[in-house]
Structure formats: C-alpha cells, structure tokens
Symmetry: C2
Subunit: 449 residues, 2 copies
C-alpha cells in the first residue's frame, strides 16, 4: 500500500492512549475506505470498540464492509443496536446482509426493526453466504425494454445507490423477467429516442440464486464479466453480483485448495485463529494421517525380523516411501488446479493418465539411479543399492499413477479432489513404498547383511 | 458451461472428418467467444490448424485471445504471416502483444510490418509479460481536464475500441500526465457544460509500468477497482489494466502457491504438459528432497546398532517424522496464504509465532497420547509407548515452530515463502524426528528390546 502502516498504526494507538480522539479520527479519515479498514483491523479489540462509534457513519460502514466476517460481527455486537442500525443503513446491501447473518437472531431482528431500508436487506438474508443469492446485491437498476434512451438516463439520474459504480444496466419486463443487458457506453452513444429493446443485447448470461459461489465466479471469469445478474427459478431478476465479489471468491477457493491439500479442513483459519478453532480444523486430519502412518508401521512390522538382521534397511525405507509421496503430491497439485480452473474432457483425461504413468517411470529411473549410486558409494553394498534403486523406480511409478488417478476419480464421484487426495495417496505411497523395499530386500537379505 | 462440450465436440470433429467445413464453422459461430475458445482448445492440433483460417477473422481473434499462451503461439506460427496479421488486427492490443511476444523475432517483425495498427501494439512489446506494462492495454481514452461533459461524450462517440467495455475514463493533461478519473455514470449525469476537471476525482490510484502483476492485482482487489491506469516514471499515462486481467493473475498466483508448496517450480505446468517440460519443473525438486531424505537416513545411521537390537524402532521412526511434517505443512499453508492475501504487522507476527508454538505443543500432546496408547495396546511395551509419545510431543512442537518461523523468515528476506518452506521444513521435521525418537529410545534400549 502507499503509506507506512506500522508508522501510522503507532501514531493512531498513541492518540487513542492519550484520549486524543480528534487526531485519531483525523488519522483514519484522510485514508481511502479499504485503507481505513486495513489500519483499523490492526487495532486491539478494545481500541476498535472505543474508536468505531466516534467515526463518521459512512467511514464506519466502509470499515465494516472491508473487515473479515467474524471480526465484523464481534465488533458490531459490542455496539448499541441503534448505532449498528445507523451504520448498516450506510452499508451496501450485500455486505449489510453478511453482517446481519453473523449476528444472533435477536440482534438481527432488533437491527432490522431500526433500519431505514430494511426491505433492501431482508430478502438477502434468506440465502446462504456461499450462494449467488448470498453474494448478490439487491441494489440494481433494471430498465424496461420500451423505455427510450433518454428515459433510461433519467432513471439513472434519479437512482442513488450506496455504491458509485455501475457496470451494466439490465433490462427486465413488467414481471421482472430478465430480458437483456445494455452497457452504459451504448446508452450514452444512442440517440435520445432509441428504445432500450433496440439497444439491448438479449443474450444475457445469468446465474441462479442457488448457484454455488465458485460457479458464479468461474462463469464471470470465463466470460470476462464485471457483473452478472442473479435470477430465481422463474427467471425473475433478484440481484446483481459485481466483480469485486468474484475476486474474494476466487481467493477463498484458492485458499481452500491449499488448505485441503495441506490437511486443514476449515479455510477460514489463519495462523492467528483461536486455538480452539485451529484444533477443530487441524486435529482430525492429523489423527487420520496418524492412522495411515500406523498402517505403514504395521506393514513394516511384517519385516521386523528382516530389519533385525539388516538394520541398514531402516535407513532407506523412508526415502522410498517419501519420494513416492513427493512425486504423487506433484501430480495431485497439478490435477487439483487444473480441475479447478478448466474443464478436462474424457479424451484428455485418458491422455493425462497415460502420460503421468510414463512420467512416474522416468522420474523413478532418474531418482532411483542417483540414489542407488550414492548409496553404493556410501555403504559399498551393490545389492542394497540395487534393491533401493528398483524400489524407488517402482514406488515413484505407482506414486505418479495414484497421484493422478485418485484426484480424477474423486472429481468424477463428486468429492473435492483437494480434500481427500493427499491423505489417500500418502497412505498408498507410504505402505507401498515400505512393502516394495522391504519385501525386495528380504529376497537379498544374505547379500545385504 | 451452458452446453454439453463432449457432444458438441463430437459433432464438430465429425464435421471436420467429413470435410463439411460449413457446418463445422456454424457449430463454432453460434457460441460466445470464450466458449468458442474452450471448444476449439479440445480439437487436435491438425484440426485446429485446418479450421482456424476458415473462421471469421473476429472469431479467430476471440479464440486466440482466450487460448493458453503456448498453444496460441504454436497455432499462430502454423498460419501464413498475412493471415496472422489480419487476425492480430482484430485482437485487443494487450492480447495481441502477448501473442507476438511468443512468436520468433522474425515472425513478430513480419507480422508487425503487415498490421494496420502496429503503433498500438509495438509499445506493449517492450514490457515483460508479468509486469503492469505487460498486462495493460494501450487502447484507452484519456479526457482533458478542460473539456466539457458534452465534448467528452462526443470524444467517446468517436472512439471505436476493439473491446466494448469501459469502466472508468481517465483524465490527462496536455503532457499526458495522469490527473484524474471520471466514472461514466458521473459523466452522464453531469450537465453539458460542466468541465471535466470539476467532475473528476483527482485522487487516482495507479501503478507503474514496471510493477509486478501480483502487485497490480492486489491493488485492484484492495480498492475494488475494475480498471487501473498504468503510468511511467514521469506519471504519464501509458495504458490501462482491466478487471479480467486480475482474475487471471490471481489464479496464476494461487496456482503458483499450490505448485511451489508441492515442489513444482513451473506454474505453467499441468498434467498434460510435455514430459520434457514436466521433468524440468519437477525433477530438480525431487532431487533436492531426496538429498534431505538421505540426510535423514544419515541421522538414522547413527543409531543403526540401536535398531539392530530393537528392530521395532524402525516401525515408528517414520510416524514421528511424518506427523511433525504434517503439522508443519498445516502451518506453512496458513502462513503462505495469509502472507499472500493480507499484510501481517510485526505485532501480529509475534503473537502468531507464540500461538503456533503453543498450538504445536497441544497437537503434540493430543497425537502423542493417542499413539502411545494405541502402540501400548499393540506391542504391550510401556517404555516404547512412552518414548514414542514423548518424541511426538517434541517433534510436533518443533514442527509447528519451524512451520511458522521459516515462511515468515523467508518473506522477511524477500524469498517467496511458498517456494522454499516446504523443502526446508520437511528436512527439519524428518531429521529432528528421527533424532529425537531414536536418541530417546537408545536411553531405554534394554526396556524396549
């Protein structure tokens, strides 16, 4: 960002500590909305509670719009209901609905009762946060097909939204049925008496209120749209999703992928989340992984006598298991991101699977040969080197194969490949790695000892 | 998407096979631009080369704009220079520059010489693809401060860009110095004689031509901008980046994070990339990981005699190492995504580090206790259970600590935490895990045997 947050934060906290609220408010007010929120988020909880009610209502609204959801709700809940209502009135309806959704039912009802424009927010409350209905704003202007360009501009003039930006103007008939889209530039360039129905593009891309937020974001990204209308089952226009929402959604989905691949099930966690929240999102996956690790230990236990006679095997079993796992992780990462960002046809899937099996074989030979050579130089036992090299070729090939088959298979049966691939595949590469290496070694036990 | 790609693709390939080009062209033409590209991308290479020159120039341009870069260049290179030039003329200048940048120098010069509007594309060729200059389009309209609203609308009327959408109108003085921004709605609502300088907002957020694409995307996302002007060192306006570009950039950066965390260094790889490209992006990381795994083997080799006397230790050493690694991966994932999407103040960093160390201790106790109990029930040796449990507590605590310290530290010294964290941290959790478990076990060797 353009300013030095650390410095500004120090000044702000200093002012708050000395109860110099005017200068504190001034420090915030000169910033742009998103910067206000960023600075505000750095304050301690009690400083936030102290400062917020003293700020301008529209600044408070900007700040609450930009803060993270759980933070916003906690902060808002600490304010008097009347104050919340005044701030919510200034917020964009979709953000207002998000905030109200995070409050208790009682608080929500109390705030709604005090709002100036409760009717704008109320319909948004019924949709889940992660659906098109939860993302959309009810603040849109729908033109009529039989308006003239001049009438449309007049309507635009009389409309006073909380957000300054307009991307497209949607056209709906008297039943509110979506029937077209006009971009602002076309409207300006048209002569005064042109009918909207002659200006509009009747081929409008829309999403349903129940559509998942990722589907909305992907559709907008695919068609390069800066806004998309949301319709109900009857095609009636209910709201509009704008481009700033899709950036948030895509970031959320990317974080979810990274987290799930790293065995965290709650994508809202960050390193600063409460211990309790982190335990809930992390411990079950650690337990699951521990279970598969103990299965790996059981595989090894079948070769305990072999290891007792050649303890050197204990050095290298993890190398075989681990490199199979690393190869598989590479495949999972590529499969997960590819499935997330594009469509993969059946034909392409077949080609990919064959390519990745071949890839695993090549990687296995490349890694196996080098390790075999290195370990021969270190331990001087050609049989050990041979067994290790061969086990690596086999486990990297198998790792590469399950690393592509598992995510593609999970996607096919409707499970998010990011969620389960990593634990399933690691279980496979670990136990297979131990089994292949130790069972091979058992055959050459005399020579390895 | 709205149509069934598999079915449409089958029809299209069928038509091409029977040389029924008219019906093939019709199948494509009825689709929207991005859908045309998606379907076209599914064709085999020779089918693409055959079909592209037969399509309408503007359809070809749409398709080339939406295909992946390497594909586009390969395809374009197969066409006659004159055909490429005609198609490039129809493309948006930023996409045209991307395409020309991927051709050989000779081809690029030949195409440039034949373009109708080479001057729009030429200046874009000097900027690296991943910079603001490489993302921006030179197709923008800059208003003058002393124009009236009516003159501005007249200017807009006479302007005929390849892209239909306009988000903001930027204002520049006679030296091309950026001095303000007007949104289209304000322009419409203004009375005819209002001067642009009275309409415009003088507080314009811009980026420099050399700014990294991620910085541009983050700035636009932070301020919810649908377009941002790009200026040179003297503040002269050089181009505009639009919202569709930032979605691509954020997706690219997210893929880069996932790939780097999974040890793939080239974020353009996908499961369908050529064996050669995949080897280049994957094998060096596998070798690096193998090296750290062999270091782990060396750590174990110091306890070879201990294992020879108690082979049961070989079963559980990997459980300790692996669960430390999993805990650390969770921390790395949270740290990488948090650093990628928001600013973390020094104060917050300190709090996070303390929290994660504490977190590791709790996770260690939770996992250690369960594994100790389970292994006691399985093997019936209380000393083994005790050593294993204690080693897990220690390694999960250490894993959690390095899992937060390493990414934060890398970020501080300007290295992408996603790139190196995973290999460094795994090396640590593996060798520490082996060392802690085996050295503890060595103390209780008699009781474990």
């Amino acid at each position: 960002m353009i300013f030095n947050t650390e410095e500004l934060l120090a000044q702000l906290q200093d002012a708050l500590e000395r109860d110099e609220f005017d200068s504190a408010i001034h420090l915030i007010e000169v910033l742009r909305g998103p910067d206000q929120a960023m600075l505000f988020a750095e304050l301690d909880d009690d400083e936030q509670v102290e400062l917020l009610p003293k700020l301008d209502l529209s600044d408070s609204a900007d700040i609450l719009e930009d803060l993270d959801n759980p933070e916003t709700a906690k902060l808002a809940a600490s304010l008097p209901v009347e104050t919340i209502a005044r701030i919510v009135d200034e917020m964009e309806p979709d953000k207002a609905a998000d905030l109200l959704g995070d409050l208790t039912d009682q608080q929500t009802q109390a705030v709604l009762a005090r709002l100036d424009d409760a009717d704008e927010v109320r319909p948004l409350l019924i949709h889940p946060d992660e659906s098109a209905g939860g993302l959309m704003t009810s603040e849109f202007l729908a033109l009529r097909p039989l308006m003239t360009a001049q009438e449309a501009i007049e309507a635009l003039r009389n409309w006073d939204p909380d957000s300054e930006e307009i991307y497209y103007l949607f056209v709906a008939d008297e039943k509110k049925q979506l029937c077209g889209v006009v971009n602002l530039r076309q409207l300006i360039l048209a002569s005064d008496n042109t009918l909207i129905e002659n200006l509009m593009d009747g081929d409008v891309i829309s999403v349903n209120t129940g559509a998942d937020q990722e589907e909305c974001a992907r559709t907008m990204a695919h068609y390069d749209l800066s806004a998309i209308p949301v319709v109900d089952e009857d095609g009636l226009i209910m709201g509009v999703i704008t481009h700033d929402d899709i950036v948030d959604v895509l970031e959320e989905e990317a974080t979810e992928d990274v987290y799930r691949l790293s065995n965290i099930s709650n994508s809202e966690l960050d390193p600063d989340s409460s211990i309790k929240e982190q335990l809930k999102g992390r411990l079950p996956w650690l337990y699951l992984n521990t279970l598969t690790a103990l299965f790996g230990a059981w595989v090894i236990s079948n070769y305990e006598q072999v290891i007792a006679q050649a303890a050197v095997l204990a050095l290298f079993q993890s190398v075989v298991a681990g490199q199979g796992g690393n190869t598989a992780s590479q495949n999972i990462a590529m499969a997960v991101r590819t499935l997330a960002t594009e469509r993969v046809s059946t034909k392409t899937q077949r080609r990919i699977i064959i390519r990745q099996i071949f890839m695993g074989l090549i990687l296995g030979i490349a890694v196996g040969a080098v390790v075999a050579l290195g370990v021969y130089l270190w331990r001087g036992n050609i049989y050990l080197s041979f067994v290790l090299g061969l086990a690596l070729v086999a486990n990297l090939s198998l790792g590469s194969m399950v690393g592509i088959l598992v995510p593609l298979g999970l996607e096919k049966i409707g499970i998010d490949p990011a969620l389960a691939s990593s634990v399933l595949v690691t279980a496979a590469t670990d136990s297979m790695g131990f089994f292949i290496f130790l069972s091979l070694a058992a055959h050459f036990l005399k020579q390895i000892q």
